[in-house]
Amino acid sequence: MSTAAAVQVTAQNDVTNTMSAAPTKFSARHVNVFYGEKQALFDVALDVPRHHVTALIGPSGCGKSTFLRCLNRMNDTIPICKVSGKILLDENDIYDPAIDVVYLRARVGMVFQKPNPFPKSIFENIAYGPRIHGIATDKNDLDEIVQTSLEKAGLWAEVKDRLAEPGTSLSGGQQQRLCIARAIAVQPEVILMDEPCSALDPIATAKIEELIDELREHYTIVIVTHNMQQAARVSQQTAFFHLGYLVECDSTEQIFTNPTDQRTQDYITGRFG
């Protein structure tokens, strides 16, 4: 095991809250990512506990989004991107050639930085995933999935009378919750969120944060955020990235009150970043 991984393990052992008892959902080891010649991630090792919120923080260009996009192999869409190392999802290496990437993405949903609803009706936005995966067997089934997904995303009350309207007609915050509902509708095990609130106003942000807290009960969540208060509010585990290295990963409380690394200390106190 490399030193980074060893550090990771000791960090895990130090964790005092309930997280240590939670089984690991994602387990990344020796993850290196290259964009052509340029290396974006260096030997990252990180465990994501099940049914917890893990926040990835760090200054711009530190590789936190890159790491997040490794978790559902969204990086595959970039031709020059090469990933090495192991990322285990429930003991299975997701970069194993035998793994079906479509199946992986059905298990690991994603919410993006900018709300990106399909230019279709609200109903169709939610129904699309279940339909292509064959989750819903008939129309009633589909209606139910749409309703429960929207309810879980806290959007049902606002849109139940206008399901036929285009998803793009909603406000920014509503659109982002629609995207979360769309991700939920496929019944994933993990939801990845790439700065989900960076394009939203404080009220919409608060709603999304509340939602993340509720979703934790059923889903494992990994969230990239620039906003340290947000990381502190919504996450149980925080990982700090810097220049492509995972500097420190610990319980959120530990990171924000008593970081072990000087760089983490500097970043969370606003000295750089």
Binding site: M74, V102, F112, P117, F118, G129, H133, A183, A185
Partner: protein, 448 residues
């Protein structure tokens, strides 16, 4: 006041004095350059307006010339004849069988009726001139059609409108002036007198020229129509669309979404761009060499024309298709991939529908170009003189632009207006296609 200024400058440290002067200088500079910039902006706008006005004037000139020359072709001078349908001439054996009725010599009856109308004309040469008032071929056709439709009229005398000859038509429309000296006029004074008599007798009038819109080409201008060419154009374009649209879109999708970015795809890309610039007659030569001589496809057929034009249109469809596909925001692809759609599902459910308006616009532009294309079709024999309206994709036919070219080349005065009229029909065809494109575009866009 000057004193305060002095004290101020004295009080100010050196560098802030510099900043103050620099600020003032740059403010002056901005003010001066603003004037220049606004002038440049006004100048540019004026150029734009001038260009628009110029283009508009050109367009107006074009349209007034074409419509001014062509609108008279939509009407035709007709002459009313009282024809005795002599059963002895038409069907001496009394069989009333269509093939007998169809082959009868109606010209004789028409001539007889004309002689009866102008009994004073005796000289053989003058008689010929009298027959020349009407279109003998046209009268023959009209009578035959009437008899075939209702064979019971054989043996009776009917009153029927037949087209006049092109010279009479030109005179009535004023394209041949009555003021010109007789020697230099195609219509003699005698003929003018007969025509005037017909007008007084209410036997001559201009009527809407349905024949122009329903018949094929003819050596006689008064009988020539654009329907054959229009159908030929339509059949050719159907083939072009069926080939170039699916192939072009498929190629664009493959190149844009699936193809690995390597030397080979780059080479293909460069060559597609080159193909778009190849002169169209080269495609015609290709069609002649490969499709006609090697494959042995029928000459002058819309299917061959369609294939040649499809080859010509493909690069346009591919290039615009790729541009439309790249303009679809990547966030939509990510969203679809994020919920677990496969690559093909992402493309066909989300990317392609969003790119469709752009692809359609490109295809319609390509089709419009194909519709107006003449040169490659000359090479594959679509320039032939074809009277019959084509019934299928392998029938010999011509197309509208080639028809225009053929008529423009004909010596008869009456073909001048036919040429302009055919251009009007071609333009109407184009406008309809573009309107269709706009409609399709809007339909797709409002759906999303």
């Amino acid at each position: 006041m000057s004193e305060t200024v002095v004290t101020e400058t004295v009080d100010l440290p050196n560098h802030s004095k510099d900043i103050a002067t620099r600020k003032k200088n740059s403010a002056d500079a901005v003010r001066q350059s603003l004037k220049k910039r606004y002038a440049a902006e006004r100048r540019f706008r004026t150029y734009g307006v001038m260009a628009l006005v110029f283009a508009f004037l050109m367009l107006v000139t074009l349209f007034t010339t074409i419509i001014g020359n062509g609108y008279t072709a939509f009407v035709q001078t007709m002459v009313r004849l009282d024809v005795h349908l002599d059963a002895q001439v038409i069907d001496p054996k009394g069989t009333r069988r269509p093939e007998v009725l169809g082959n009868a010599g109606y010209g004789l009856l028409v001539k007889k009726s004309l002689r009866k109308m102008f009994p004073e004309v005796r000289a053989r040469r003058d008689k010929k001139k009298v027959y020349g008032i009407i279109s003998l071929l046209g009268a023959n056709d009209t009578l035959r059609a009437a008899v075939l439709e209702n064979p019971s009229i054989v043996g009776t005398t009917i009153s029927i409108w037949v087209p006049s000859s092109d010279d009479a038509d030109m005179l009535m429309k004023g394209h041949i002036s009555r003021d010109v000296v007789e020697k230099e006029r195609r219509v003699t004074n005698k003929e003018i007198a007969w025509l005037d008599k017909l007008i007084i007798d209410k036997r001559l009038e201009t009527q809407f020229n349905t024949r122009f819109f329903t018949s094929g080409d003819s050596r006689e201008p008064e009988l020539a129509g654009v329907w054959g060419a229009a159908v030929g154009s339509l059949l050719t374009l159907v083939i072009t669309l069926l080939l170039s649209f699916p192939l072009g879109v498929a190629a664009a999708v493959y190149l844009e979404e699936f193809a690995p970015k390597n030397r080979w795809t780059q080479l293909i890309e460069v060559n597609i761009n080159n193909l778009a610039a190849v002169p169209s007659i080269v495609f015609g030569l290709l069609g002649l060499a490969v499709l006609l001589n090697f494959v042995g496809m029928p000459r002058s057929a819309p299917v061959v024309g369609g294939i040649v034009l499809a080859l010509m249109t493909l690069p346009t469809v591919i290039i615009t298709g790729r541009a439309a596909l790249t303009s679809v925001p990547p966030s939509i692809r990510e969203a679809a991939l994020g919920v677990g759609a496969s690559r093909v599902q992402t493309i066909f459910h989300h990317v392609l529908p969003l790119a469709m308006p752009g692809i359609l616009t490109g295809s319609i532009i390509g089709m419009a170009r194909a519709l107006g294309e003449t040169a490659p079709l000359l090479m594959i024999g679509m320039v032939a003189f074809i009277v019959d309206v084509p019934q299928g994709f392998t029938d010999p036919s011509t197309v509208l632009p080639v028809q225009i070219y053929l008529w423009a080349d004909s010596p008869e005065r009456a073909f001048v207006e036919k040429t302009s009229a055919a251009i009007i029909v071609l333009l109407a065809f184009l406008v309809t296609m573009n309107a269709l494109a706009v409609w399709l575009r809007q339909k797709f866009e409002t759906r999303w």
